[in-house]
Subunit: 267 residues, 2 copies
């Protein structure tokens, strides 16, 4: 059972994990140096712990204690209890869903273990927006994808915003970083996957045709601004497009991913 510790002073050093949650750069640096990540909201906190991540601590107003009693019962980590107002001073914003947890990151699994048994995989090159990363995980999980691989510069799925938008799918779906950007796609092809890059390139074929009858598929998605890099466009086995109305900007990457996952899941 978690140790309940009432704290009234927002400056208390035990609250260091929860400071200035709106400062993205500061958080990135703190979270990677300390090996932690933050979960926000009752449902997401519960899923993080149920997903096997070890809590460092919890922070919540008294009214959230009952709802998370089952989760708090599974751990010896401290649970700091504060008024909402004091918690707001620590975090820098109004914590809508009340409960926060700081959890330990785990070493990333190998690409081989993430791909073991997988038939449908998402490969994210340089998606830099945490909301998009979270949305892609959520859609992938809902539409039957088995795993996610991230290029070295893709945004962090364990950043608070990614986790929240993913509704915890980052805990359910196996994922890891690709250690080698340059050889990533040829390695996937060698492992038996047909790599299908979603792109507006001239030689792209309709996504339904690109995945039709293919067994193991790796759907490759590029950055919000410039799409997939020339290296990856060239290295992918197929280039595919979602047919769109003339004169309209392409779909947002999260929307395009949802459509492509849907089509690929039904191949």
């Amino acid at each position: 059972m978690a140790d309940l510790i009432e704290i009234s002073d927002p400056a208390d050093p035990r609250l260091a994990d929860y400071r200035d949650l709106r400062d993205v750069e500061l958080r990135k640096s703190l979270e990677s140096s300390e090996g932690l990540f933050l979960a926000e909201g009752e449902k997401v906190v519960r899923r993080a712990v149920a997903g096997g991540f070890e809590p460092r601590s919890f922070l919540m107003a008294p009214k959230w204690l009952d709802g998370l009693a089952d989760t708090l019962a599974t751990t010896d980590a401290p649970c700091y209890v504060m008024s909402e107002k004091a918690a707001e001073e620590v975090t820098g914003f109004h914590v809508h869903r009340g409960a926060l947890a700081s959890l330990k990151r785990r070493p990333l699994p190998s690409v081989e273990s993430v791909l073991a048994g997988a038939r449908s995989v998402l490969v994210l090159e340089d998606i830099v927006d945490h909301t998009n990363v979270g949305a892609i995980f959520r859609s992938g999980a809902a539409l039957g994808f088995d795993a996610v691989l991230l290029a070295p510069r893709c945004a962090d799925p364990l950043y608070r915003r990614s986790i929240k938008v993913a509704m915890g799918a980052v805990f359910a779906l196996p994922w890891t970083r690709l250690p080698d950007w340059y050889e990533a796609l040829p390695s996937l092809s060698a492992a038996g996957f047909t790599t299908v890059a979603l792109t507006l390139a001239d030689d792209a074929v309709d996504i339904e045709r690109a995945v039709e009858g293919v067994d193991k598929v790796a759907l490759v998605l590029g950055s919000e601004g410039h799409g997939i890099s020339p290296r990856w466009q060239h290295a992918s086995d197929r280039r595919a497009i979602i047919p769109m109305s003339a004169g309209i900007d392409s779909l947002n990457v999260a929307a395009a991913t949802a459509v492509a996952c849907y089509v690929t899941a039904r191949r």
Copy 2:
């Protein structure tokens, strides 16, 4: 040609349209009482003016003047020119894409005129998140939908965030508010549309089956939290679901819309 007016004082009363852009409630009240909306970013500002909306004024740093010279040439509205730092003091945040415009809202068109000639229509009940509204417009426009109808409580497509996420699709796609929530769906059916509600209801059929061979379709989408109201669920001609993995939260409404638009466009 717009009148270029240099302003150095952030407190200048001519800048009233641009104050405190992060304060959602204040903005809602100001924008509806003044009958204005704000466009942000060179591309979006250009599309708003090209879409026939009359500018009240522009606000930008000197470096954006050249890029928008074509747009500024079409109007007599004042263009306030300020340093980025001073502009930030007015708006309350760093204006990444530099240019802002305040434009006049127009009277909403009638439902009949929005539906004239339309074959694929989106109907949004109580989508309260501006990002979702914008994403839905963008996907609808890209995937071949002809019009959007909004229930009385749906979030404003002309709110700055909606416009930005929609990449200006709110200027291209005809839309209006439904004056009568209660009779909205029966009226659409009477106008020859098959209303298809996207829902997790037990009697929902696969979306592909629901729209197969249907001529005029109105795809009905509900709020992020509770989905479509019982009244609208009951009043819709068909209830449809996107097949999903067991045990996973449903898709985000913007992702679900993208998939449903894709399927419906190919019916």
